[in-house]
């Protein structure tokens, strides 16, 4: 099963309500994925302050070695996730994290996104994060019912493997082992045996090679077999694509104030002005992209 929610706010006066709305949406889809959950929040000035880079981490208990290595590192513990930010480039911060926190798993990095995930009921996660108090211009979330790999914090979505990029997936890729092998041959490094991570690595790989988001997702449709509804976000965009069979549900609602995507309507029903929204199901293998 699994549940997906996403919210791309066009109306700046709604930015203070991003976390509250995302938490309400996610809560509606807890039954679709009660084993783990995750969210990514774009543009929260506390989590990702302007002028600094932020890295999201799992399996970190003490960031002192990083603080001793880099000046002005701030640490934000959020349940099973730890965020660190510093006034350096993302690459510099990532290199410092790898050197000083060898047990940590990087689950997100960039200048504008905070990725937070963990095992357990989605409602517990949103509470432990204080999601309802977070702000920003875009957010994505996922509730997971694991099928292809173990229930672990790193197996939860979103998968964020490129700068400010996130992918959430409902479904299962059939040929992920083949594509993982091909990407490894191209030098791509993986964190897990999870099929969705392969989708995220593929998209990031295509974006790094110069494709735009729409082209990267078209290439994904050509290369991947299996079932998928995907929500992919970047530093400025929000995109949805489904496989040719389109059995994994997806609904998009659009108003002048926001664009939202969810697995089921009940997650959209919590949004302000939804009664006047244009609501539609994305067509199979059609890529939908909204840019800020």
């Amino acid at each position: 099963m699994c549940g997906i929610v996403g919210l791309h706010l066009r109306e700046p006066t709604l930015h203070p309500r991003l976390g509250e709305l995302l938490a309400a949406m996610l809560g509606q889809l807890a039954e679709r994925g009660p084993d783990s959950a995750g969210v990514a929040v774009y543009g929260d000035p506390v989590l990702t302050p302007p002028g600094r880079s932020t890295v999201s981490l799992l399996h970190v208990s003490d960031t002192t070695p990083l603080s001793e290595h880099l000046p002005d590192v701030k640490t934000i513990p959020l349940g099973q996730t730890t965020l660190v930010h510093a006034p350096v480039t993302t690459d510099t911060l990532l290199t410092a994290v790898t050197a000083t926190l060898p047990g940590a798993t990087v689950i997100g990095s960039g200048t504008g996104v905070a990725v937070m995930k963990g095992t357990g009921h989605p409602a517990d996660l949103t509470r432990s994060l204080g999601l309802a108090g977070m702000t920003g211009w875009q957010g994505v979330g996922h509730t997971r019912m694991a099928t292809e790999s173990a229930v672990t914090p790193e197996g939860a979505h979103p998968f964020s493997v490129g700068p400010d990029q996130c992918l959430v997936h409902n479904g299962s890729f059939a040929n992920h082992a083949t594509i993982r092998r091909e990407l490894r041959a191209d030098g791509v490094v993986f964190d897990s045996e999870n099929d969705s991570e392969v989708g995220a690595r593929f998209v990031t790989h295509q974006l790094a090679r110069g494709a735009d988001l729409e082209k990267a997702l078209r290439l994904l449709c050509e290369r991947f077999d299996g079932f998928y509804t995907l929500l992919v976000s970047t530093a400025d965009s929000f995109a949805v694509v489904r496989d040719a069979i389109a059995c994994k549900p997806a609904l998009i609602a659009e108003t002048p104030q926001w664009v939202a995507m969810a697995s089921e309507y009940r997650a959209l029903a919590v949004l302000p002005g939804v009664d006047a929204a244009r609501i539609f199901e994305p067509e199979p293998e059609e890529v939908y992209v909204w840019t800020r």
């Binding site: 509606q28 069979i245 389109a246 059995c247 549900p249 609904l251 089921e264 309507y265 009940r266 997650a267 959209l268 029903a269 609501i279 539609f280 199901e281 199979p284």
Partner: protein, 224 residues
Amino acid sequence: MDPMTVDLAATPVRDLNQALHAPEPEQRWRVRNPRGAHAIACGLTRPLSVEIDGHVGYYCAGMNQHAAVTVNGNAGVGVAENMMSGTVRIRGNTSQSAGATAHGGLLVIEGDAAARCGISMKGVDIVVGGDVGHMSAFMGQAGRLVVCGDAGDALGDSLYEARLYVKGAVKSLGADCVEKPMRDEHLTELAGLLKAAEFDEDPAAFRRYGSARRLYHFKIDNAY
């Protein structure tokens, strides 16, 4: 007499459904604030009238017998699935698998239906005012599917005996589904279905599709 009104913002769906299943329920019901909840008005067995104001979630009016259920909004996956009799009318659009496996009754969708509308239909009549998605009437065994708009890919794939009428374009026909001539009895049948659905369409503007019956028997040429 005013209908019995239930506000799902205050009343759980289970309470509503239990009230609709009571031995001697009220005859007319109005449901407010469905907000995408699942399984609203499922398993009704009496000739009740239920009108729902808003969008419903999965399996609304599933297994319906005799009741008339109207949704003033959109419906999620599997609306009127396995319906036996009665009428279900959706004023908006429906998600995938509308009317799946339904044996009887009339399902009217005034907007568009998504993929697999009428999948494995077993006798239901489905009339869609707009378009239907891919693989509609997949493995349909009996009943009629009327589409006033266009049909997506693989219409009527692996069809047994359901009859399909489409006014607009068919993107592609599924395995063993073929166009068939519209004879007088088909025009009469279609006119009756359009009238029952309260759609003002000209039967002569439709084309008929059905099974070529080539999949009924094992063909040695297909063996490996």
